[in-house]
């Protein structure tokens, strides 16, 4: 694995974070407004237009994204030196790139969270919830999105994987001093992804479901469900390293790359989802009613 793979993955991650995702939020704004209360939008087109025409969060995001990419590219092309570790050795480039990407993500969270909260509160304050509201009378369950056989295979895989760690531990077939920490991590990660899947199945219906249409939630559930195979994949490699005492490849680096690629893929995929025809038409109406 060369540094260029790391650079490409983190650059894609930053592009998704700072350019694609804010663009998608902007594209979703009017449909969300209409979803909250279409009658209010029709009665207050000026306010709706004013809310929809705010561009400064987008430009701020683009600016931060460009700066983050420049810093990342600087590190990759040797224009900036990696920091020293405690032992006086320079940080490996792949780790330096990872840290820069994570710092950029932290900035995005620190800047984006207050803007998101403020925007949400403004929307709640200005736009009342529609008096007419719709909901499905269908009970949501995992079965409606993921076939039962696939669930059974996945859960069997997860249980076999966890059992293998326990057996290796009991038999003493491990080589690292942090073996039991890794066992705990595998249990934690497996539990986390299991609970995350349940949470997505049970989450309340929101504007995204209506804007993207009835296929959105099943897609979201399947995506989250698929994360449950990540601990067995990573764990199997780690366990083989523990048992054989040999390192196949740098797992930490691989996990970090996998995570960045997964988040970037998720954001790009959502950005490419087609908006439901009715919502799109409504959006078009609002846009074309804009005299400016």
């Amino acid at each position: 694995m060369t540094d260029w793979i790391d650079f490409a993955a983190y650059a894609a991650f930053l592009i998704a974070l700072y350019f694609v995702q804010p663009g998608m939020q902007r594209r979703m704004f009017v449909p969300m407004l209409l979803d909250r209360n279409a009658e209010w939008v029709a009665a207050h087109p000026e306010i709706a237009r004013r809310l929809a025409s705010r561009r400064w969060p987008l430009w701020l995001s683009y600016g931060l994204g460009a700066a983050s990419l420049a810093v990342l590219a600087g590190a990759q092309f040797g224009l900036s030196d990696p920091p020293m570790m405690r032992n006086g050795v320079a940080l490996p480039k792949w780790m330096w790139l990872w840290r820069l990407a994570m710092d950029a993500m932290l900035v995005a969270i620190l800047v984006g969270t207050p803007i998101g909260i403020a925007s949400h509160l403004t929307l709640k304050r200005l736009v009342p919830v529609a008096t007419r509201r719709q909901a499905t009378l269908e009970r949501r369950s995992l079965d409606t999105s993921v076939p039962r056989w696939m669930q059974l295979v996945t859960y069997a895989l997860v249980l076999i994987h966890l059992a293998a760690w326990i057996v290796a531990g009991v038999l003493g077939a491990h080589s690292s001093p942090i073996f039991w920490v890794r066992v705990a991590m595998m249990f934690l990660l497996s539990g986390f992804f299991f609970i995350a899947t349940r949470a997505i199945v049970a989450r309340r219906g929101n504007a995204m479901d209506r804007i993207f249409g009835p296929s959105y939630r099943p897609w979201e559930v399947r995506m989250t469900f698929s994360t449950q195979v990540l601990p067995p994949i990573v764990g199997a490699i780690r366990l083989s390293e523990e048992v054989t005492g040999t390192q196949l490849f740098d797992m930490s680096r691989a996990i970090q790359l996998l995570l960045a690629a997964f988040i970037a893929y998720w954001m790009l995929r959502i950005a490419m989802l087609p908006i439901d025809r009715d919502r799109g038409a409504s959006e078009h109406l609002v846009r074309t009613s804009d005299p400016a």
């Binding site: 008096t131 007419r132 509201r133 719709q134 909901a135 499905t136 009378l137 009970r139 309340r204």
Partner: protein, 127 residues
């Protein structure tokens, strides 16, 4: 099946939920054994207090339209369509009874009331 409520309608929201589910049962969209969403899911989706949905479910349960089977959730009962018809018939009988009492107290005879009803039915039949 989707359900729509109007929070500003004169009819209380819990009664709207009851009516919509009853309509689903009588139309056959909600067949016997069909699972219904948990109170929390429906309340969240409709942006309502959970007590409002719980009240609607309790009323439907008392009417014999739905049943709650512990952790398995809430289902449409077998024979729910008959129960809805029975409930609706009872409500209609009480409503007509009150109307007749009112007409009698206004001084109309039973023959006159009968004639009024027959005329009204004929008009309704014509559409």
């Amino acid at each position: 099946m989707d359900i729509e409520i109007n929070a500003e309608a004169p009819e209380p929201v819990y009664e709207q939920i009851v009516r919509k589910i009853q309509e689903g049962v009588t139309s056959g969209t909600l067949a016997a054994g069909t699972p219904l969403p948990p109170v929390r899911q429906l309340a969240n989706d409709l942006v309502l207090n959970r007590n409002t949905v719980a009240r609607a479910y309790k009323l439907l349960e008392d009417q014999g339209v739905i049943q709650t089977a512990g952790r398995k959730g809430t289902f449409v009962r077998s024979g729910a369509a008959d129960e809805v018809t029975r409930v609706k018939t009872g409500q209609a009988e009480r409503s007509v009874g009150r109307m007749i009492e009112s007409l009698v107290s206004d001084g109309l005879s039973t023959d006159q009331i009968s004639t009024i009803f027959q005329s009204a039915l004929a008009l309704a039949a014509k559409g």
